[in-house]
Amino acid sequence: MEFRNVSKSYPGQLAVDQLSFTVPAGRICVLVGPSGSGKTTSLKMVNRLIEPGSGSILIDGQDVLREDPTALRRRIGYVIQQVGLFPHQTIAENVGTVPRLLGWQKERIATRTRELLALVGLEPSRFARRYPAQLSGGERQRVGVARALAAEPPVMLMDEPFGAVDPIVRERLQNEFLRIQRDQGTTVLFVTHDIDEAIKLGDRVAVMRSGKLVQFATPGELLARPANDFVAEFVGSDRGLKRLGLLTVGGAELDTTVDRKSAPPNAPVLSPAMTLRDALARMLVDEAQVGVVVDRDRYLGVLTLSTIGRMIRDDR
């Protein structure tokens, strides 16, 4: 998906200003910024709920402006914060919306619906015949995701999809969404105002401010090298710590000169898959200067606090 010099203005206001970036296929790009930064406007131009003022948006090399909007929208999954389930349709009918619009056979729709409900963790036999009003907020949002995925769209647009649920449910939905997205290989454009969500979900993060793209980078780059003071402030003064959440113990430089027996007795045991942030937390709790890194009984070396400190400072 590619934005080429996309602008949109409303009377007296430039909502989106010369936006250009590319989302590689199968990746998640998160548009993040304060409210009024133009991120939702940008998202809605992709499925033409808002018509771009100038520039072009390409999906698979094809300009969305050349397509019939209705046909275009049926090829693009769409999830919004308020979910927008159809209250008068059952969960199964809601999920089957786009396949029905596309004229799929009944049995194929039924099979696909069951498959999707299971995929988002809703037991089909329990949920298929209920109405949206009978579901919790988290369950409704899962249905929203299932509905967007129904016709296997190559591209999904998600506008603060997990904004209206409580933090515990949000975390679970985020993890499930990542699993599903990897599984389906969908290209996703995701809007949020929550920088932590952007860092967690994004393969690329586009930071916007007043309609302009301020920085487009991987989460690691964004945290390591904010393009300016605005981005630095937006990602937060704890960006070093956040960055540790993206790095694993296995990726850090380990001290292999120390053998396991000579490591201090209070040193916690760490695994290579653990994030440096979790490793640091363990070391702080145990008041240890080092952690022992063990990969399934195999001793790899020790991780020191000073290595972690160096990685926080590291601008690589």
Binding site: R73, Q82, P87, V98
Partner: protein, 217 residues
């Protein structure tokens, strides 16, 4: 009332069941035509109001004015043009349904939540499909509430049309008054009320049947 005559003569009632059946059919016919035609016109005008907000004020004004004209006066005004016909009755009856029906259809469709409409557009519903598959079904409860009001008031007004030779059960009331025959008068009045109650109950059932999702929260 004639001296010594009982308030209700049950034997007369037993002898006139055929007459009641005929008047029932007539009453239902006048009502169904009025509400049916009124609904079609109201639906069309509602779509105009929803698409062209500027049309709302004049349409409300015209239908509101029609609603305020006393029914007898309206029938009297029409007689020079359409005579003592069913057409005269229906023009009046249809006019009275419009205000209520348009108000409820418009309110019902405007009441569809914005997120539902946005999701529908975003997933590729064509505009006409949004109207018929999303907006009308979701507005149904409010629309049927309007149909109930229109039906009840029409059933009442049909009795007035007895004065121009129509009237269903209204004929019994009028005839009873003219002949000072309470049995017939009361029969006409009770049957019109019963019809109104029955029609309302039927429409409530219809609404429950058509909107199963409203019962399941």
């Amino acid at each position: 009332m004639t001296e010594g005559e009982p308030l209700i003569r049950w034997d007369w009632i037993a002898d006139h069941l055929d007459e009641f059946a005929f008047r029932l059919v007539e009453h239902v016919e006048l009502t169904v035509i009025a509400v049916g035609v009124g609904f079609v016109i109201a639906f069309g005008l509602s779509l105009v109001v929803l698409r062209v907000p500027r049309a709302e004020a004049p349409i409300t004004w015209v239908t509101g004015t029609l609603y305020t004209i006393p029914s007898l006066a309206l029938f009297a005004l029409l007689i020079p043009y359409t005579g003592l016909t069913i057409l005269t009755a229906e023009i009046g009856l249809v006019s009275y349904t419009l205000l209520i029906l348009i108000r409820n259809i418009v309110r019902g469709i405007r009441g569809v939540p914005a997120d539902v409409r946005e999701a529908a557009v975003g997933m590729g519903y064509a505009p006409r499909e949004i109207l018929w598959r999303i907006e009308v079904p979701l507005a149904l409860a409010v629309i049927i509430a309007g149909v109930r009001l229109a039906t009840i008031s029409t059933i009442g007004l049909v009795t007035v049309s007895s004065l121009i030779g129509q009237g269903g059960f209204g004929f019994l009331i009028l005839d009873g008054i003219q002949r000072l025959f309470t049995t017939e008068l009361i029969a006409g009045a009770v049957l019109s009320v019963a019809l109104a109650i029955a029609a309302d109950a039927l429409l409530v059932l219809l609404q429950r049947r058509l909107t199963p999702w409203t019962r399941s929260a």
